[in-house]
């Protein structure tokens, strides 16, 4: 519910405050490996992106890592070495993700070994995707058009445990929530028979909408929640003291390695 409190602050801030860029002493830290790897039950190739942290005031936000050895293996003893495609992106060739399998990522870089594993959990289907009229907004030509919001409903299969999910929303094939701050994750802990909510994006007539829902493990969910906390952090006055998101990668590396089962549903917004 912190999001609602945040809105409250935003309102009060906007009334009384102003913002400025400030120069602070950031010190220096040893470069750390950052991993962003994903394997799904959809078709490959799957990607693992590697980079390193950099000084706060550097013009680049990270340093790409191109000289690592990256291997993904499953719990049946199959393994595959990923190929560096440039710019710190490593790709699989033949690997196909499957539900119920635990995948392990091994990275050898700069004389250090890193390891992470993630289980590809099953996912329920989105059984309803609908759109509701939200409001009239001005389009780029200045005329008023109807904006719609998309709501999905998916049944929850609670097997005595909490399930974790992430969502991706596409408009006409373009990912709407592509930045880290737009990541949508939830658990079904406080939901009853169905999990459902409305996405915060306006859609217009003739837009094609595709919603992808993915299973994630609790570890991965905690990582994304932690990532959101860092992005939203105010330095510890009203939020918690800032901390790096809890990574599932060993040996002090940052980032996350996730395995997900993906389901999707699509529709086109029609003239009423």
């Amino acid at each position: 519910m912190k999001q609602y409190i945040n809105i409250l602050f935003v309102i009060s801030l906007f009334l009384w405050s102003c913002e400025e860029v400030i120069e602070l002493k950031h010190g220096k830290a040893e470069p750390l490996l950052v991993v962003d790897g994903k394997i799904t039950d959809g078709p490959g190739p799957y990607q693992v992106k590697l980079s390193q942290t950099t000084n706060f005031n550097n013009s680049e936000n990270d340093t790409k890592v191109s000289d690592a050895e990256v291997v993904i293996s499953d719990d049946d003893g199959n393994s595959e070495t990923l190929i560096h495609k440039g710019n710190g992106v490593y790709e699989t060739v033949n690997l196909q993700g499957a539900i119920g399998v635990t995948y392990t990522l091994d990275i050898n870089h700069g004389g250090k070994q890193y390891e992470a594993s993630s289980t590809l959990l099953p996912i329920s289907k989105i059984d309803t995707l609908i759109y509701n009229f939200e409001e009239k907004v001005e389009d780029s030509t200045g005329s008023m058009v109807n904006a719609y919001r998309v709501v999905f409903v998916a049944p929850v299969t609670k097997l005595g445990q909490i399930n974790y999910y992430s969502w991706d929303v596409y408009r006409n094939g373009r990912l709407e929530n592509k930045l880290a701050e737009d990541i949508i994750v939830s658990s079904d802990e406080y939901f009853g028979e169905d999990i459902a909510f409305e996405f915060d994006y306006d859609f217009f007539i003739d837009d094609h909408v595709r919603v992808e829902m993915s299973s994630i493990t609790e570890e991965v969910y905690n990582y994304f929640e932690g990532l959101d906390e860092v992005l939203e952090n105010d330095g510890g006055l009203f939020s918690s003291p800032p901390a790096n998101p809890p990574s599932n990668i060993s040996n002090g590396a940052l980032g996350v390695f996730r395995a997900s089962s993906v389901t999707s549903r699509e529709m086109t917004i029609r003239k009423p």
Partner: protein, 802 residues
């Protein structure tokens, strides 16, 4: 309740013992006792001194305005005095017990010369009490205020040893303690959340308050329940002489107070209300949709008292306040406190005074979210019912005893969530209620060993019990509690006591007079705390969750030693003090990174505990009388916490560790009609973590923090000056009333004090540009962005009284 019975037995024993002792001494001694009151309003005066010249001895009135002094028969000159009041002298021939009720008249500045006599109050030097700051509301009202809203908590933050978490927060961080380690009580009822509007204002309407006392150390044995400090707020009783009305119209709120006698000199009432203008904040909004928002708060204070006889007085007081917030039709949040006090003062005889109190406190908040399939209603509530007995026994002028017993019942309902509407997919959800009992029994004595040495020593025994119904989870490893490691649960039925904590809390203080105008003092106290706020942020929020000690959350314990030198100059015109303290705190709690607190029914899995310590030096130079009054305070302090699992187990600074803290508060009466005030504050920047690097993730730069350097950096230093001028109207309002204008400027030299700092992409060097704005992006860089709050706030208010 075995313990309750034990407590009562002990009390009866003390009572009998005192009465017996009193009688044995009675032969040649007689007692002078009574109440000291304000002549104009009939309000009791707390801490007025009664001095017998011939014996060079005296006593002070207790918190109910009562005094008693027993001395040998003889002819005496008595002096009744109190700061800001004219001293009254009288001669008596003491040959029997006498009851003397005295009314003191407030001194006006023009009469200053008469007021200053050789017997000026010098209590701060002579009393044993140290580490205590007392401010009258009259004094607080002269301090320039933000938006012109006189704020009691904000004024306390100007005193040495008291830190604030940042601009716009009401928490009091006293001598290295957290905000929830200060007990805030109004007419002895606990106020669990003293903030309005997310902390910009406090819940105390200045018009209803008589005075505030803050105990930073040397905490008397009669107080318990918090380890750091006690903020004791007393409400006005209401004018028992004549009907009076007062009020004010300000930028943010309006106030109205009505008071007067019900039966003259026997019974009086006061009703005081305050409300902010409906949605004044959102009305300023540039965005028209924001004008649909609702945002206001109000307070209502009431007090009635009835004097049955000189021996029996009854007080009933209450507070009710609420904040309401509604953001368009999407969500609403409201929260508020309720307190109630019923107090009966009874004099068994002229030396034994009993105060019996029944107390009620309630804090609740309510969320309602109207978001289609996610609509729900969320309520949370904390309730306390307490009762206590406090005896004061005036043995002889050199010896005074206080003893008593307090019992409290607590009920915690952290969260109940209900889906709203047919479409809602939210599951009804509830965190189990928790129940607890807390008891405290105390005895304290004030003894004067010689002209030079006075000692106050006391002991408190506190006991805390978790009671059923409850379900206690058992973890495989008690030290490393995880949700996936729950191996069993134990059910307890209603009334079962399933966990008990308790312990002694010794308190001792001594004063040694060096000469007539200077003294040294020292104190030690141990305090225990059984309730705390579970929060990993520093500033308080209305949704903060109070949790009781239980099987996994051990009570907090603090030991503090303090020593000080007190000296008055120039015939007590100036008061100077320097105090130093060291404090050890056990079982301090903090939370794991990314802790889930609000809706967690297994909060013990997120909690870590360890120790804390704090030390410092506080200097205070004060001028209480004359045309120019005020104080200069300086504090140097250091606070650390060390908790396994946080910061790699190394000691770290809490955010509110701010080594240097200066405040200057000045009020000057230019003429009887015009007075000006100024204050200036300086504090080292809050301890924070600044990113040590960055990395990219999903197309966005992310701050990297050193996990072994929590709060190792500092915000820029904070400083600010506020000014105000008060002009009394020459013309009487409607023939008899008095009106005054107050103009104030908050942050007069427009210091841009960083309130929060965040780290994000900034387009073209301007943090106000939104990525969705239609601008040409020349540069997009990851930068530190600071938010300044309240650059300069001029305000005007009008106050009146009839």
């Amino acid at each position: 309740m075995k313990f309750t019975r034990l407590g009562l037995c002990l009390l009866l024993f003390f009572t009998a013992f005192m009465t017996a002792m009193g009688q044995s001494q009675r032969k040649n001694n007689f007692t002078i006792s009574g109440y000291v009151k304000d002549r104009a309003s009939g309000e009791d005066i707390i801490g007025a001194t009664i001095y017998i010249e011939e014996l060079k001895t005296g006593v002070a009135t207790n918190v109910y305005g009562f005094y008693s002094i027993t001395v040998p028969a003889g002819d005496y000159h008595l002096q009744y005095s109190f700061v800001g009041y004219k001293t009254r002298s009288m001669e008596i021939a003491l040959d029997k017990d006498q009851s003397i009720n005295i009314q003191l008249q407030e001194a006006v500045v023009e009469m200053e010369e008469i007021v200053i006599s050789s017997e000026r109050p010098e209590q701060n030097v002579t009393e044993v009490k140290m580490s205590t700051e007392k401010l009258s509301v009259e004094k607080i009202k002269t301090i320039p205020a933000m938006f012109g809203e006189v704020d009691i908590i904000r004024s306390m933050q100007l005193l040495p040893g008291v830190q604030s978490a940042g601009e716009g927060t009401t928490g009091l961080f006293v001598r290295g303690g957290a905000a929830d380690q200060t007990l805030i009580q109004m007419d002895e009822a606990t106020v669990y959340n003293p903030s309005h509007f997310l902390g910009f204002f406090s819940v105390f309407n200045p018009d209803a308050i008589k005075e505030v006392e803050l105990y930073k150390g040397g905490i008397p044995a009669r107080f318990g329940g918090r380890i750091s400090s006690i903020m004791d707020i007393r409400m006005k009783e209401g004018n028992s002489k004549k009907f009076a009305a007062s009020g004010g119209i300000g930028l943010i709120s309006s106030r109205l107070t009505l008071e007067g006698p019900i039966v003259k000199d026997k019974s009086s009432f006061i009703v005081s209300g305050r409300r902010t203008y409906a949605d004044v904040f959102s009305a300023f909004a540039k965005d028209t949709s924001a004008r649909k928002n609702i945002l206001y708060f109000y307070d209502l204070n009431m007090k009635l008292n009835y004097r049955f006889s000189d021996k029996d007085k009854l007080f009933v007081s209450g507070y009710f306040g609420r904040d309401k917030f509604k953001f368009e039709d999407d969500f609403g949040l409201s929260w508020g406190n309720k307190t109630g006090t019923v107090r009966w003062n009874h004099l068994f005889n002229n030396r034994l005074f009993l105060n019996t109190t029944l107390l009620f406190s309630d804090f609740d908040y309510n969320f309602d979210i109207n978001d289609d399939v996610l609509s729900f209603d969320w309520t949370s509530n904390l309730r306390e019912f307490s009762g206590k007995l406090d005896f004061t026994y005036f043995l002889n002028p050199n010896h005074q005893l206080e003893f008593g017993y307090k019992a409290g019942y607590f009920q915690f309902s952290p969260a109940t969530i209900k889906p709203v509407g047919e479409k809602s997919v939210i599951d009804a959800f509830k965190i189990d209620k928790k129940y607890a009992l807390e008891h405290g029994i105390f005895l304290s004595s004030q003894s004067k060993f010689s002209e030079k040495l006075s000692v106050e020593y006391g002991i408190r025994y506190s006991l805390f019990q978790n009671i059923g119904p409850a379900t206690v989870l058992i973890y495989g490893d008690e030290q490393n509690r995880r949700e996936d490691n729950i191996i069993d649960s134990v059910k307890y039925s209603k009334g079962d006591i399933y966990k008990t904590y308790g312990g002694l809390e010794p308190r001792i203080g001594a004063r040694f007079m060096l000469n007539r105008s200077s003294s040294i003092k020292a104190s030690y106290n141990r305090t225990r705390q059984y309730l705390q706020i579970a929060s990993n942020s520093t500033a308080g929020l209305p949704i903060d969750r109070w949790v009781p000690s239980d099987k996994y959350i051990k009570p907090q314990i603090s030991d503090q030693i303090a020593a000080g030198y007190f000296r008055n100059f120039k015939d007590n015109t100036y008061e100077f003090s320097v105090e130093t303290y060291y404090k050890w705190m056990q079982n301090q709690i903090d939370f794991k990174d990314q802790a889930d607190i609000l809706l967690n029914s297994t909060i013990e899995t997120e909690l870590l505990s360890g120790k804390g310590w704090s030390y410092g030096v506080e200097l205070l130079l004060k001028k209480n009388v004359g045309k120019t009054t005020g104080w200069i305070g300086y504090t140097w302090s250091k606070t650390r916490r060390q908790i396994d699992g946080i910061n790699g187990g190394k000691a770290y600074r809490p955010r509110y560790d701010r080594p240097h803290d200066i405040s200057v508060v000045v009020n000057h009466e230019v003429s009887p009609r015009v007075s000006v005030s100024a204050n200036w504050v300086y504090a080292t920047g809050s301890a924070v973590s600044i990113p040590k690097g960055k990395y990219a993730f999903q197309g966005q730069p992310i701050s990297y923090y050193d996990p072994l350097d929590r709060n190792g950096d500092r915000m820029p230093a904070y400083h600010r000056m506020d000014l105000s001028i008060t002009l009394k109207q020459k013309k009487k309002l409607f023939g008899r009333g008095q009106g005054e204008w107050n103009l104030s400027v908050y942050n007069a030299y427009m210091k841009k004090n960083p309130w929060i700092i965040d780290y994000r992409n900034v387009i073209n060097g301007d943090p106000k540009i939104d990525p969705e704005d239609n601008v040409t992006v020349d540069t997009e860089e990851f930068k530190s962005v600071t938010t300044y709050l309240l650059k300069i706030i001029p305000s005007v208010s009008y106050n009146f009284k009839f």
